[in-house]
Symmetry: C2
Subunit: 220 residues, 2 copies
DNA sequence: GCCGTTAACTTAACATTGATAAGTTATCTG
DNA sequence: CAGATAACTTATCAATGTTAAGTTAACGGC
């Protein structure tokens, strides 16, 4: 119950420094979302932690949802970086797909809270449930499209793999969806139910990767 | 916006007839939850549809969550029935697994709110978030355990399949987990992102079922 | 130096939410 | 018919997201 979460900020911002306040708000919001979930985190508590009044948040964000969206894009950025790395360093198509999936998984397991926040819609209201994936034609600067960028990379990898001679069992987009669903199923299970007595974590990870590759790539 | 949803009920209930009012409330709550989702459905709107005052609902349910839980158990009862049906009518192990998965999937897609509640812990307080899977020793009459019963049936089906001579790629419990993760990944994706332009729903369902079976059952 | 513009805030308030307290009405029992 | 009580209502609560309207203080131009 103790809510003495220090207002760390100095007082009023100088004239051009509004954006630093914006980042303070994002930081506080992220902490609270992760600690207590979206619903339980109130505008007032975020404001308290930052050290400003509640309506002040509306100077920087249209509403509560926009704070969440901004955080989502921020986190997706990190994932995007690590998969770009793979696309550069790994050339074999099959291995690329596998490492792609592995990177996605590693990301989820290394940042379980962010993953929950972004992919699992945990405690996220109706209007937000569409955040993860949007149409390719959507404005890429619009908040909340980070997820679709990751997904588009996956499709691209599969299309390239096909062009490189790999035979797929379904159209590339369907394969991408199946791949993502398998990875997501594993990640969300391990993250959402850490207390469940999973038989063997590494076996599950390798098993899922094999399963996805077998399901997607035609038997030679 | 038009909310003229007829108060169908006659007036005050007679002395022993409280339980019928309880069922009217459940029915109204179910309709509204399915129409508008859990969050958007307010106690007052449920009460309006039934034709009573809002506090009257608290005569029959401890709180809003209990209404949803009652509906969940009710709905999961139907899933349990349909998988029992399969266990009785389908003897081939491989086909059993497949139909089991398909039933699970179609159930999830038909009851997205219940699915989200039980398996994704979305929109519900912390106390509920681990409901989906509990230890076998949990009280089976407690509200909200329907999900774990389903999972236990899946394990049983796989163990029986193995006993019937089917060769699995991993231990039965690992296979059960992989199977569930694949199904869950697909279900949660379709449910959480309904507006995403999924390539082809039926293709995805069949693809995932094939993928899971290929991943779990050893190549002949 | 001071003055006006305006960025960066605050206080007060609103409607809506889930939920409770306390009182009222109607039905059954003896 | 009288008292108990199931079945309900009205009034109210505190908390929520959000807005309106006013206040303070930093900077540029004169």
């Amino acid at each position: 119950m103790s809510d003495f979460s220090s207002p760390v900020t100095g007082g009023r911002k100088k004239r051009g420094e509004g954006h630093t306040r914006r980042e303070e708000i994002l930081q506080a919001a992220k902490e609270l979302f992760l600690e207590q979930g979206y619903d339980s985190t109130t505008i007032r508590r975020i404001a308290d932690r930052v050290g400003v009044s509640a309506p002040a948040l509306y100077l920087y964000f249209q509403d509560k949802e926009q704070m969440m969206l901004a955080l989502c894009d921020q986190t997706f950025g990190h994932l995007l970086e690590s998969i770009s790395e793979i696309e550069k360093s790994v050339s074999d198509p099959r291995e690329r797909i596998r490492q792609f999936g592995e990177a996605y998984l590693r990301f989820g397991l290394k940042h379980p809270d962010e993953y929950r926040l972004i992919f699992l819609g945990s405690n996220i209201p109706e209007s937000m449930r569409k955040v993860g994936h949007r149409m390719p034609t959507d404005d890429p600067t619009r908040p909340g499209v980070g997820g679709s960028l990751v997904f588009q990379r996956l499709i691209a990898v599969l299309v390239e793999a096909e062009a490189a001679g790999l035979k797929l069992n379904y159209p590339a987009d369907t394969c991408a969806e199946l791949c993502w669903m398998g990875m997501h199923g594993l990640a969300s299970a391990l993250i959402l139910k850490p207390e469940f007595p999973w038989s063997n974590r590494d076996l599950l990870i390798n098993g899922m990767l094999d399963m996805v590759l077998k399901g997607i790539i035609r038997d030679t």
